[in-house]
């Protein structure tokens, strides 16, 4: 077992006791709640006549079902309105803070936690959402849980978990031009597989990761679960602290920042820490990377050929064959030139201000290709306002993008934002599963925000390195 890693230290600090099952009872430092996975948990709590044990350590928002167009209440979609009303009743009845649309703080749960400073190093963070791993970017131990576990956390402030192995993933060297954090994580999943991380927590390290800003680190940690790892993290450093200083939690309270900093420093992985596994990836060799199939592990660099299923390990062949049939791609071809109908810039992976800025730089002065439906869905109302203050909304709308209100949107198609029929989408989201974006015949190609921008203006999957960056935003 690992020793001296951030994971070991945070785990130890939060362990309440060993349960009869052999699992540890872990105290939860921050419980994030959204409307889709929580109503049944609140219902179970009521059935048991129990109350929320730590309401001040709990924070709610609405993201999955919220419309990104007309948001007048009641919502036009009755089911969405019911879920929103249920969430409002549950959180208000329990004294839980709620970043609702009227607060101006609403957004995707994994965007608002970090931007409000709720997410901090050395915390345990859970949410009924598998992309909770995002918060690991701050050196928190963060993972997704199911609804019965949400009930556990609401009722007791704890989760029952077994300690896992730690794999260090060291991304060496410098990322090339046009290569982003998204390309790094797609490459990692492509190499280690969608189940390569089962039983592991991923520690992302190395020069390429350390040089990333918090947004990039969040994109990487976000998709840990797509590689099978329930959690992923980056050790906190000056980049982390600079972000934290600007958040609600510390901007007016530098003393609190200084008070907590020694704790954050103390949970960093030791220099002589022991890992269960170490993997090294050459960051300088990573290309802009896209998916060719229907799992996030079916990836290729933009100039690389789509593999022949017969050349893959036996257990991957059947999935690859089905994926290539669904996507209508041929082994030996590259994904470059794959025609798209939709460009989606959004999701908890890539809808932060930096993502929108970088994409806008490729969009300014260009036009969305004929026949392409392009949309930007900012990750939160704060991101939306900040982007509008910089004029990014105008750059996108002038190019022909639809500029929408924040939410999960077309990442999973739980509101009106969905693929239709067999439409193909260039998407900055995290899952290309069949049916994921709302149509079971829809085809999703995952890529970075700047690659989405490039695809939007050319109408096909495009190597962003061949497109001149036009703007200076």
């Amino acid at each position: 077992m690992s020793e001296g890693t951030l994971y070991d230290k945070v785990w130890d600090r939060h362990t309440v006791t060993r349960l009869p099952t052999g699992q540890d009872q872990l105290f939860v430092g921050l419980h994030l709640v959204h409307e889709v996975t929580s109503p049944q948990a609140f219902g179970m709590l009521k059935e048991r006549d129990q109350e929320v044990a730590f309401p001040e350590r709990t924070h709610a928002t609405v993201d999955h079902i919220v419309p990104t167009g007309n948001r007048d209440r009641p919502y036009r979609d009755e089911a969405a309105e019911d879920m929103m009303a249920e969430l409002e009743a549950n959180v208000r009845g329990s004294g839980i803070d709620f970043s609702d649309p009227d607060s101006g703080n609403q957004g995707i749960v994994h965007v608002i936690g970090p931007e409000q400073g709720l997410t901090q190093p050395g915390m345990t963070i859970v949410c009924g959402d598998s992309h909770t791993s995002t918060h690991g970017a701050f050196g928190a131990l963060a993972f997704g849980i199911g609804t019965s576990q949400i009930r556990d956390v609401l009722a007791t402030g704890c989760v029952a978990m077994e300690k896992q192995n730690v794999r260090k993933i060291e991304v060496t060297g410098e990322l090339g031009e046009g290569v982003t954090a998204k390309d790094v994580i797609l490459t990692i999943i492509g190499e280690l597989g969608t189940d390569g991380g089962v039983g592991y927590v991923y520690e992302y390290a190395g020069e390429a990761v350390e040089k990333l800003g918090m947004e990039g680190r969040m994109s990487i940690c976000n998709m840990s679960i797509e590689g099978g790892a329930r959690a992923g993290y980056v050790n906190p450093d000056e980049t982390t602290y600079e972000w934290l200083k600007e958040t609600d939690a510390f901007e007016d309270d530098p003393e609190e920042f200084e008070r907590l900093k020694p704790y954050w420093e103390s949970i960093r992985t030791d220099d002589d820490a022991e890992y269960d596994d170490v993997v090294t990836i050459d960051g300088s060799a990573i290309e802009p990377t896209v998916t060719w199939g229907t799992t996030p592990g079916q990836t290729a660099g933009i100039t690389e050929p789509i593999p022949d299923p017969e050349d893959l390990p036996p257990e991957d062949r059947d999935t690859a064959r089905r994926a290539q049939k669904h996507m209508r791609v041929e082994p030996g071809d590259t994904m470059e030139g794959y025609e798209i109908d939709v460009a989606f810039l959004g999701s908890c992976t890539n809808a932060r201000l930096k993502d929108l800025r970088e994409a806008a730089a490729f969009v300014e002065g260009r036009e969305v290709a004929d026949g392409v439906r392009a949309m930007v869905v900012p990750g939160s109302q704060r991101v939306e306002r900040a982007a509008e203050a910089e004029g990014l909304d105008e750059i996108f709308t002038e190019a022909g993008f639809d500029w929408r209100e924040p939410g999960c949107s077309m990442c999973l198609g739980m509101n009106d934002d969905q693929l239709e029929g067999d439409e193909a989408s260039a998407s900055s989201s995290n899952r290309n599963f069949v049916g994921r974006q709302g149509s079971k015949d829809g085809r999703t190609v995952l890529m970075s925000p700047i690659m989405v921008a490039a695809a939007a203006v050319t109408g096909e999957v495009t190597d962003v390195r061949e497109l001149e960056e036009v703007a200076t935003v």
Partner: protein, 218 residues
């Protein structure tokens, strides 16, 4: 579900030592939770009625005509042991996935491997996720296909799967096995008994202010 009575030392949940019944095979690796239950069926505030939506898009076309899928086949109606392949349940953390399977009638899932959150969600429902090697699983799937009326017996404590004259040496993850066999998979009750120690842990963390820690019994 009624509130379980629980005091320290007493098992808070039903013991699940064995599951027996007819099987149903769903073949393929990497079957994700979006396939098990598409997101549009999660616009609900209870889990009631989710069973009918299990594998919905694999079972029905756009005009709601039935497609070829084991969950549609007459011979598998009434089956309660689902037999799958590798990395089953990958993707989202939605408990709606095992809830849909359970409400369709599944009491245990046997496969080559499972995604972690999915397996944890199954455990929270008292549904064992039992693993065995690829060859044994494929043989079991073939057997179930040929003998849809024959029983498959899972012994959770002994970690075996028995069908016909065959006994598979299977695996049930340690913590899961203990929780099921001893009836301690209701972790709310289990952890609720340690409220004092929880407050102590919370107090030891520099980021948790004292006013966030209630003195009331949780």
């Amino acid at each position: 579900m009624s509130a379980p009575e629980f005091s320290a030392g007493e098992a808070p949940a039903e013991k699940v030592t064995e599951v027996s019944g007819t099987g149903i095979p769903v073949r393929g690796n990497d079957i994700d939770t979006d396939q098990i239950i598409p997101a549009r069926f999660m616009k609900v505030v209870t889990f009631d009625g989710l069973g009918q939506f299990a594998f919905f898009d694999q079972r029905f076309d756009d005009a709601d005509n039935e497609k070829d899928h084991p969950f549609n086949e007459e011979r598998y109606q009434g089956a309660n042991v689902l037999v799958v392949n590798a990395n089953f349940g990958c993707g989202s953390s939605r408990e709606h996935a095992p809830q849909a399977l359970m409400r369709w009638g599944i009491d245990a899932v046997v496969g080559e491997s499972f995604a972690e959150i999915f397996a944890g969600n199954c455990l929270a429902l008292g549904v064992p996720t039992v693993t065995a090697d690829q060859e044994s699983i494929e043989a079991l799937q073939d057997y179930v296909e040929a003998n849809p009326d024959a029983d498959v017996d899972i012994d959770v404590a002994e970690e075996t799967i028995t069908y016909g004259d065959t006994v598979i040496d299977a695996e049930v993850h340690d913590a899961q096995r203990k929780a099921l066999v001893e009836g301690v998979w209701d972790t709310t009750a289990l952890m609720g008994a340690n409220a004092g120690a929880v407050r102590e842990t919370a107090r030891s963390l520099p980021y948790v202010p004292e006013e966030h820690i209630s003195e009331d019994e949780a």
